[in-house]
């Protein structure tokens, strides 16, 4: 039985046992290679749910962005490894009650990034996709192209170390624990090797592209302040232009606000219309936090988020005087 069939079966069971009022999953999108979030309120609709590499959306964002719709409801949710970490973080931060959610983990081997595909096909419409081991064949009217899986996967997935949920009620298959990932290490080594001037060059090159659409913020399950600092106008923290002078404030401060809370789901990078590598900085921050404080966002369900914790005897070599 494939994952989609198992997922549908699980949803049906949850509704017939009256364990959930609503279930969040993915369904077929209106275009090929796309999927859409799906809210199921009745077990009979279970057959609309799917799970495959198109299902990139991190559904736990609905708990923080528009949570009123779930007030008093028991919510079932299908989660990949990263989505589960978001959910754990939201539970730690008291945005979701653990008793009110039924977490269904799905085994994930990475999701595709539509932007990468569009770049490779030159924006031509893909109507058919065939997966064959490590290669993917895309077909459309008058063209056919075969790519390696790594060329179409989201860059966050290529650097993923937690492919499967660490906290779940039901898991559709065998949940893997933390895995090693040399791509992640390589990306970090590259950044760490840069001199301070080179780093600024890199920062500038990336954030110059930003058009301040805030898609990254809006799609981020960890970004849920009712008023973001970029929207405040008294005091105004950040100018209104798309010049790097302003965009760099937005990105660095956003990075710091989600420090120790970013689960590297890559939703921001997939949402970015300008193709900024938004995750690299977060990766670096997460690594530093792990090195210093020995914790990773969204892994333990007990306790508090790493940046809300402290130890009295922490290293403080940077203190003056």
């Amino acid at each position: 039985m494939n994952v989609t069939a198992k997922l549908r079966e699980t949803i049906r069971e949850l509704f017939s046992a009256d364990k959930v009022d609503v279930f969040l999953a993915w369904e077929e999108g209106s275009l090929p290679m796309s999927s859409t979030p799906l809210f199921i309120t009745d077990g009979a609709q279970a057959d609309r749910a799917i799970f495959d590499p198109r299902c990139g959306n991190n559904l736990s964002v609905y708990f923080t962005k528009d949570s009123r719709q779930f007030r008093g409801k028991r919510v079932g949710i299908a989660v990949k490894g990263c989505d589960a970490r978001s959910l754990v973080l939201n539970i730690q931060e008291n945005q979701v009650l653990r008793d009110m959610v039924v977490i269904v983990g799905v085994p994930c081997n990475g999701v595709i990034d539509g932007k990468k595909i569009r770049r490779r096909t030159g924006g031509k419409q893909v109507t058919e996709v065939m997966e064959n081991g490590d290669s993917v064949t895309l077909k459309g009217p008058e063209f056919s192209i075969t790519l390696d899986r790594s060329e179409v996967l989201s860059s966050s997935c290529l650097r993923c170390v937690h492919p499967d949920a660490t906290e779940y009620d039901v898991f559709l298959g065998e949940a893997r624990a933390e895995v090693g990932n040399e791509n992640r290490r390589k990306a970090l080594d590259e950044v760490e090797a840069l001199s301070s001037a080179q780093r600024w060059e890199r920062t500038r090159k990336e954030y110059e592209k930003c058009i301040r659409c805030y898609a990254c913020r809006n799609v981020c399950p960890s970004c849920y302040c009712s008023e973001c600092f970029v929207d405040q106008n008294d005091p105004q923290w950040i100018g209104g232009t798309c010049d790097v002078t302003d965009t760099v404030i937005f990105h660095l401060i956003r990075n710091l606000h989600v420090a120790g809370r970013c689960v590297e789901c890559g939703a921001c990078a997939r949402a970015c219309p300008m193709d900024i590598d938004l995750l690299l900085l977060n990766l670096k921050t997460a690594e530093e936090i792990k090195k210093r404080f020995g914790d990773t966002a969204g892994i333990r369900i007990d306790g508090r988020p790493v940046m809300a914790e402290f130890r009295e005897d922490e290293k403080q070599e940077f203190i003056m005087g």
């Binding site: 301070s196 001037a197 780093r199 600024w200 060059e201 890199r202 920062t203 500038r204 600092f229 923290w237 010049d243 790097v244 002078t245 760099v248 404030i249 660095l252 401060i253 990075n255 710091l256 606000h257 420090a259 120790g260 900085l281 670096k284 921050t285 530093e288 936090i289 210093r292 404080f293 940046m307 809300a308 914790e309 402290f310 130890r311 009295e312 922490e314 290293k315 403080q316 940077f318 203190i319 003056m320 005087g321």
Partner: protein
């Protein structure tokens, strides 16, 4: 024209310790660098990273954050959170190409007027050696 470089150091000082320490330095008539521009905050953990970045990008040559000694926080744990956050802030600011020596955190208690004066002078001297904040020379980065 060769004008002597006088650094401008924005300082966020916690009301209960560092600011009171600065006050003590003043009432004790200690001489300390006039480069320090103090801003009182209720707790050092009240300082969001955006304050530090804004101060830097608005032309401060250095940014000083002052709080109570660990264990002495008026709110019991505020400065522990500051310390944890500050370690990460320094890390992230490096991607700005900013020398993280321009950004300092110090523990100064209410009774440490002389220490405040010393830190103020030392930091001013350090910044004088580092030179002007490079972003001051341009309107846009």
């Amino acid at each position: 024209m060769n004008k002597e470089f006088v650094p401008r150091i924005t300082s966020f000082l916690c009301k209960w310790c560092s600011y009171t320490g600065a006050d003590l330095a003043g009432t004790s008539r200690l001489q300390y660098s006039a480069s320090i521009i103090p801003i009182q905050v209720m707790c050092s953990s009240r300082v969001d990273p955006v304050f530090l970045l804004k101060a830097y990008l608005s032309g401060s040559d250095g940014v000083l954050l002052g709080g109570c000694h660990p264990g002495d926080c008026h709110y019991e744990t505020g400065n522990y959170h500051t310390r944890r956050r500050f370690a990460i802030v320094r890390e992230v600011f490096e991607s700005l190409g900013l020398e993280s020596d321009r950004l300092r955190l110090s523990w100064i208690s209410a009774s440490e007027g002389p220490k405040f004066a010393r830190i103020a002078n030392e930091f001013t001297e350090e910044i004088r050696l580092l030179g002007e904040n490079p972003t001051r020379k341009s309107i846009f980065l």
